[in-house]
Every structure is written in C-alpha cells, then in structure tokens.
C-alpha cells in the first residue's frame, strides 16, 4: 500500500511539474440546436452522471474540462432560436468549434443545415477547425456520419478542417475520440 501511495505521490508531483511547462488551455465553443445534447456532453466530460432531462441553457455556460495536462475551456451556448444570433460572438478566436446534432431527429436537420452554413460563412470563423458530432446514435432512427455530411452539405468545405463523428452521450460511445480530436487541435492556429 505504502509503495503505491508513494508512487502516486511522485506521479502527481511529476504531473504538476509537467503542467508547469506544458499545460495548455484550449478554447472550445459548443453549438447546435436546442436539445441536441451539448450541456449533457459537457456534464459527462467533467464526470457527472448523465441525466435524460436537463434544463435548457439560457444564454451560455462556461465549463472547464481537464484531461491530462490539457484544460478545455468550453463555452456551452444555448441552442434556442433567440440565442443563435449570438453564437458568432463566442466563436471568434477559439481553438475549435463543436457542432452537436441530434442525429435521431430528422425534423431538425434542415434548420441545423441552415444555421451551420450561415455560421461557416462568417469571416470570423475562417481557419477554425470544426467538429460535427452526430449525437444519440444509440437510438434506432439515428443516421451515420456519411449521411450527416450529406445532409449538412459539408463536402463544399473541402479546404477546411472539418470532422464528423457519431457518438452517444448517454451510453458514452465515441467520447474518447472526441477528446483526443480536440486535444490534437491544440497546435492549430490561434
């Protein structure tokens, strides 16, 4: 027992020293229509329980996610129509933008396409990597990544850094992939 605790103590000291020299902060903006699962995704990232009913975000909430020596500053923006005009303000100068889509609700696809394309056409976002997440892939009606690319008409942005992942926040599927994708963008332009 004692050896283990000494070991873990060394480990933490090592991590601390490491964090002094290599600690990095990443600014990440989470967007998407209401009820896509943005706030839930963050909750699971910081280690809270998933709960199916959460209160809609009014405005934005800011959360920090620590992963190793990387800290993600996540700006979780409200998805209701009244807040969409303000997304752009929180996308300026961030390291990456995450767009969450409810891949099981076909009725939202059209609006999602319009909103995302409108956002991508803004000058402030040029050069910022985009990660599109198709959430709720545990549901039978959910669609795959290929279809998401089609529906959101993402093939027109050949020269931008855009990835699409299919995940399920509820079951925890695909989340490590999301984290590693985000962390790998720490060296992208800032």
């Amino acid at each position: 027992m004692a050896t283990i605790s000494i070991y873990s103590w060394f480990q933490s000291v090592y991590n601390y020293l490491l964090s002094l020299f290599w600690s990095t902060e990443l600014d990440v903006t989470l967007l998407g229509l209401q009820n896509a699962g943005k706030t839930s995704l963050l909750k699971v990232f910081i280690g809270e329980e998933f709960s199916p009913d959460s209160i809609p975000t009014v405005g934005f909430a800011m959360k920090r996610v620590k992963h190793g020596h990387v800290t993600l500053k996540c700006w979780d923006l409200g998805g209701q129509p009244r807040f969409r005009s303000m997304w752009e303000r929180y996308c300026r100068g961030v390291n990456c933008v995450v767009f969450v889509l409810d891949s099981a609700d076909a009725s939202t696809f059209e609006t999602a396409k319009t909103e995302l394309n409108a956002l991508l056409s803004k000058e402030a976002l040029v050069g910022i990597p985009l990660l599109v997440l198709g959430n709720k892939n545990d549901l039978p009606a959910s669609i795959g990544t290929e279809e998401i690319i089609n529906i959101l008409q993402l093939e027109q942005y050949k020269d931008r850094d855009i990835s699409v992942l299919s995940i399920s926040v509820k079951e925890g599927k695909g989340l490590p992939g999301v984290l590693s994708w985000l962390i790998s963008r720490k060296n992208s332009n800032k």
């Binding site: 975000t57 009014v58 405005g59 934005f60 909430a61 800011m62 920090r64 979780d76 005009s85 303000r89």
Partner: protein
Amino acid sequence: MSALTYKKNDDIESGSLDKMTVFQDCMSGFNASPIMPKKCRLLLSKLAHLLSSGETFPADEATALFFSVTKLFQHKDPSLRQMVYVVIKELAPIANDVIMVTSSIMKDVQGSNELIYKPNAIRALCRIIDGSIVQGIERLMKTAIVDKNPSISSAALVSSYQLLPIAKDTVRRWANETQECVVAQKSFPPGALLGNYHIGVSTLSQYHALGLLYQIRAHDRMALMKMVQQLSGPSTSLKSSNAIIMLIRFISRIISDDQNLRAPLYVLLENWLRHKSDMVNLEAAKIILNIKGISEEEATPAVNVLQQFLSSPRTVYRFAAIRAFSKFAMVQPVLISHCNIEIENLLSDTNRSIATYAITTLLQTGNETSVDRLLTQINGFMNDISDDFKIIIIEAVRSLALKFPTKHVAMLKFLADCLRDEGGIKVKTTIVESIFDMIKYVPDSKDEALGHLCEFIEDCEFTDITVRVLHMLGVEGPATSEPTMYIRYIYNRVVLENAVIRASAVSALAKFALTDDKEVRDSVVVLLRRCLEDVTDEVRDRAAVYLKVIGLDKQVAESYINPGKDYSLPVLEQELAQYVSGDREQFSTPFDMSTIPQITEEQAKANDFKIKSKANHEPEAAKADIAKEQMERALKEELTQQTYASTLASIAQFTDYGKILNSSKIVQLSESETEFVVSAVKHLFKDHLVIQYDINNTLKDTILEDVSVISIPDNEDIVEEFIIPIDTLSVESAGTVYVSFVRPTGEYPVTGFENNLKFTLKEIDPSSGEPEEDGFEDEYQIESLSLSASDYMIPTYAGSFVHQWDELRFDETFSIRIDAADLQEACTYLIETLNMMPLESSDVPVSTSQNTLKLFGKTVDGVKTVVQIRMIYSASNGVAIKIHTRAQEEAASALVIETFTN
C-alpha cells in the same frame, strides 16, 4: 479592498478617463487569454466609474462590451467576479441580448461560493432577465429568500422587489417565503468574514422582507391589517428598527385610507413611543402628529417624547424633533406651545437648519406679542441660511401675516428687508407673492407694500417677477391716494427695461387712465404716446390699442382695460380642449365663449383665500394636492351649475325668469334603497324659486304616470305657481319634476316644504311586457325640505371685518344653545348653515372654551351681510352662542336670525 486599490481609485477620480481608451482597453483585456484578474478588475472599475458618472455607450458598443465582460466568467477569482456583476448590472439597460448570461449567473446562484458569488449573482440576475424567464427562476428565488444567510436572503428579497414591475403575479407567489423571512432572525455564519462585518444577529433582512411583503399585499387591506397585528403584538419577533419604522409608515397609510381603523392602530403607535430604539420613538411620534384631526389626549404623549428629543445632544435627533414640531405647529399650534422654552433655546443652535425650523415653529405657536421679537431674531441669521430655508421662513411669515393682520408693519418691514438681500428667483418669487397676499388680504398695508414693490423693481434682475409686480401696480395703484407716484416708477421701466417688461408696463400704465382725475389721465396719454415709438411691435401695439380705448366712453374703456372679472380658466381650458379635439364639422360653428362662466374678482379672492388658509392647516407637503383637489371641486361645482343653467333655460316656462342667482347642493329626500329615490335642488331666481325634484323609479315591474310632487310651503310669502310633472316614468329610469314658486323680491322668507310624491301606478303584465290598462293613484310621503340662509347667502371675501361691521346698519341679536361636541364643530356647523365666509381665521378656535366667529357674505341680490357669533363652550351645557348681525338691508339680517328661530 486593499489600500493599493483605493489609491488607484483615487487616481481615477482625479484624472479624466477617456471613454474610447477605456473601451479599447476593456475589449482587448477581457478577450485576452489567459485572463489577468487584477488588471481586468481595474478595467472594470474604470468602466463602472465612467457609467456612473453619466457616460453612455451606443447600443452596439455596449453590447460588444457586455459580451466581452461575459468572457470573464471563465475566471474564478471572487473579487473579479464581484466587479463583473457590478458592471453587468450597469450595462444591462443599454446593451442588447443581455439575457445571454442567464445560465452563467444561475450557475453562480446555485453554486457553493456563497458569500461573494451568491448575493451578487442574485442581484444581477434580476436585472437581466425578462418576464418570460421569471417562472424559470422561481424555485431558485424561493430558496434564496429563506436562506439562512442574511446577505443572500436580503439580496433575494430586494431583487424580488425589482421584479415586481415585470412579473407581479409570480412574485406574489413568494408571499409565504417572505412572511417566513419577516419573522426569522438570521445570523452571519461564524467566522465567515471576520473583521469586515459585525458578526451576530442581523435583522436587516426583516426590513427587506417587510417591504416586499407590503408590496405583495398592498391591494388587500384585510391581509395588511392581519400583517400589522401579527407583527406589532407583544410577542413579535420583529427586531429590526428599520423594519418597525417601515411598519409605522404602513400604519400611517392605512389610517389615512380608512379612519375607522384609527383607534386600534393608534394604540400600537403609542406603544412604540416607549420602544427602546430612539429611531422608532421619533417615527411613531412623527406619524401620530401627522394623523388628521388628532385630539389633544392623543397628541400629548407624542409631543412629550419629541420634547425630550429637543434637548438631545445629538444634532440629528434635535433636527428630527423640531421638524416634526414645525409641521405640527401649522395644524395645532396650541398643543405644543408649552414647549416654547425648549424651542427658543434652539434658536441659537449652531445648526442653522434646526434654528430655521425653530423659528417657523415659534411663529405658529407664539402669540401676537412675541411676533416683533421673533422677527428681529430671524433677521439675525437670514443671511446664513440656504434659499430653501429662506422660503420656509417666508412662508411662515406670510401665513402669520394673514393670521395677525395688526402686525403687518413689522412683517412688511421684514419682507422688504429680505427682498433687498441676496436671493435666487425662488426666494424672490415667494417674497413677492407674500407681499401680494398682504396687499390683497391686509388692506391697511397696501400703500406701504406697493412702495416696497416699486423700490424692488427699480433694481430687479428677474423679468418674470418684474412683470408680475407691474401687473399688481396696475391693479392696485389707481385706487391709491397718490397714483402719480406709481406712474413714475412704471414709466421708468418703459425707459430702462427689456421688451417683455416694457409691454407689461404699458398695460399697467393704461389702467391709470381710468381714473377721474383729468390731469393724471392726460399725463398717462402723453406717456403712452411716447411708447408708440418703441422698437418692439408688442409694445407699440399695446400702446396703440390702449390709446384708442382710452378715447372711448369711460365705461366701455373700463370693460376693456380693467373688466373686473375673468373667465373661469379651468372651464375654458376644458371646453377649448373639447372643441379642438372635435372633427372638421365642429369647426364650422365658432367657439361659443358665452358658455364659459365668468368669475368676478371678489369671488376669485374668496376662493383663493379659502385655498390658502386651508393649505396652511394641512400637514405634510400635500399642499399642492389640496390646491388641485380644491380646483377640481370648484370646477365640478361650476360644471353642475352650468348644466342646471342650460337645462332650466331650455324649459319654456322658465325662460323669462332671468339668470339663476344660486343653486343649492343636492338634498336627498328619501333613503337610497327605497322604491322611489328622490332628491331635490333649489334654484333661486330674482322673483321665483324653482325646486327640481329628481325621481328615480327603482321598481322592475311597475311604471309611474303623471308623476308630480305636491310641495306645501309653511310660509305664506311663498306661493306655488305651477308644476311640471313627468308624463311617464318607465321601469328603472329617472325623471325630473319642477315646482315653481313666486318669491317676494328683496325679501328672504325662511320656510319648510312638506313634500308628497303623487302618481298613477301601473303594473307591468309579466306575460306581455306591456303595462296594464288600469292603474291606481297613490301618494308617497318623502322628507321635507327647508329654505334658509344657506340658500340665500353667497360666501364673499372682505379684507377688513371691522370696516364692514362699522359700515352696516340693521342690527339684530339673538342667543341660542346648539348641540356640538366642541367649538370647532360648532364653527363648521354655523358656517354651513349660514353659507358665509369666515374672516380673520376665526373659524379655527384658538381656545377650547370660547371663540368669536366672524362671517361675511352677500345675499343672492347682492346685499352685504356680516355676522359676529360669540360662542362659549362648557362640558355641562354644550355650546352657547350669541349671534350679532348687521346688513345693508333689514331683510338680510332678519334672514340670519330667522334661520335659527325656525
């Protein structure tokens, strides 16, 4: 805050901050990464300083600032967060989309860092949300209200207060939590903020809770009463002095709304006079003295408490006490006259405000003999006090002048001295108005007062005041012994002043031309001719018009230059507004000026005096309200008079009766819930009396036909002429019966009328809805009506009672005992019965045992009548009065006496 930060703040204070620099610094500082909390906090304070010193940003810049401030939520530093909240509250009204921070703030409200985050977050939250979200934060607010930490609870309570305008119904649902908070005693958690706050039981949240609870319950008087009773009982847990003071103020509001609750609530107030907190004692005493119509027994304990405060070593207590006294002195000076010694000591108080109030109080409580001494004392420090206090003193002297007309010499001298001293336009206006009042109501002072005014305008920098004085000189000057002197002063203005003053000086000059003295008239004409050369149109035009008019017949000239009466301005305003708001068609007929009632100068004076002396007796600064109320009442009366006149004029039988001389108030002749509700109005014409009976048929199944009123006078001088009946009075409708009588010209018979309603009654057949063929005749007795002095008399103002008294003959005296609880009640009764004007403030008895009431009035035919009533009160015998009357004609004095004998 550390000493360092204070120093930086000082720099901000002294240096000038450039708005754009601050804006740029903020934008780059807040968006930087990583955040530097100290630097950002300083930037935020600069921003807050700019905003609080009146700078504003356009909406787009404010919004940009706001959103960059929201970026600071990523840093957890408590002192930075505190400042973020301050700035968010400042920016909330000018920036767009502030709703954006709702979730972030709510996170703080729910979070764990209680003392800095929570209260500040709650306060900011309520500034940024709109009505639609209030329901969403309901649970949050309820929890915060009952939080055991007083600062969180207070923040939630005060914020709920702010939410009332946007979400009244939601906030009302928090009543239970608020109630709980009123009675709770909360303490700061031990050791939470050592050294900075005093630690122990804090009761301030009770104060906040009580304020909110009142807002929630204000519409429901029963709930309010329950609240008051609960909180004021002997076992109350209301500990905060502030909260008790607020409760006392609520009680005062309840009392003024509903006099019936006065007795039980007074007991509560009196108990608070003995509360251990001085603040509470003062407030309770102040409120007690403010209650309308307070009796001597009720006031005494409060007066005693305040008396003790008068000699308190603490300035603020002395000030509060003397201020309460000075207000009360306007209402019932007698009750505090025994404190005069203490009050006189305050005259030499180093605090000038206290001394000022002491003077105004003494001016009210003192008697005639002390006036001179007081005036000299005031003169001593008039120069040391601010304009506002000068006005207070001048107002006091003014009301004193109306009260003791014999002391006018000293008071006029005092006012003239003030006029000569430095002072702003408000002070000068007040002084000039006071002198005007003396000219109007204290005739003996006229010559001297006019002299002072002349001297004043020789060197007056305020155009408005000069114009008013010139007008006054024009009105009063011609009637004086030496009009030429005033002409000289007025003409000086024509030579020396600006156009506005020159024009009004011309108008004033023209009034002097109406005199009979040819020499004066000629010289005025010469002066006016010179004005024709003036550079300004207005001045030339006025001079030309007046020259033309003066050349006409004297009476015609007078009707133009000095008509002696004026249109009733409120009525005129209303009619004109109605006319202008009409459609195009309405403009095809010109505006009918003849419908506007005219007011003679005497009537206007009587009204004015009434308002002025009434206003002086009212506590509180509600004087303006009272004046307005009086105006409205006067206006309403005028309008009813007008409707009477036009209705009666439209009836053929009355057309040759001439003008209505007087219409009485409406007299109810039956209970309001009987089958037929009858009321009557008496109209007096030159040779006739017309009684108008308004009859309301309240039955649902019966109609009345041939409705008339059989009215039998018990005086033979009044002879019935004819009745105008109502043909049919259908169900639930109203109609009017007129009964006309001949009255002897120039006499004032006093009489009663026996009244009987006579009609044919027909029931309505419920099946057909038609009235039945046959009805039956019926009579219905209604109450009798009397015709007495109050119908014949019109209250009129006279400057000097003695003067009128000496002038009139036809002496009559009469003694009687009347049923009244005290002298005040007797005065009110006598004034109402005789419908005459009380002079020289004789309607407010100074002593409780005896008083002399002096009344003046004219009969409907214009016969002057004076009445002097001596009254003596004793507890065993009630009020005994001796009436002594004189009039221009015998009939009028007989009328006064007969009113009491019948």
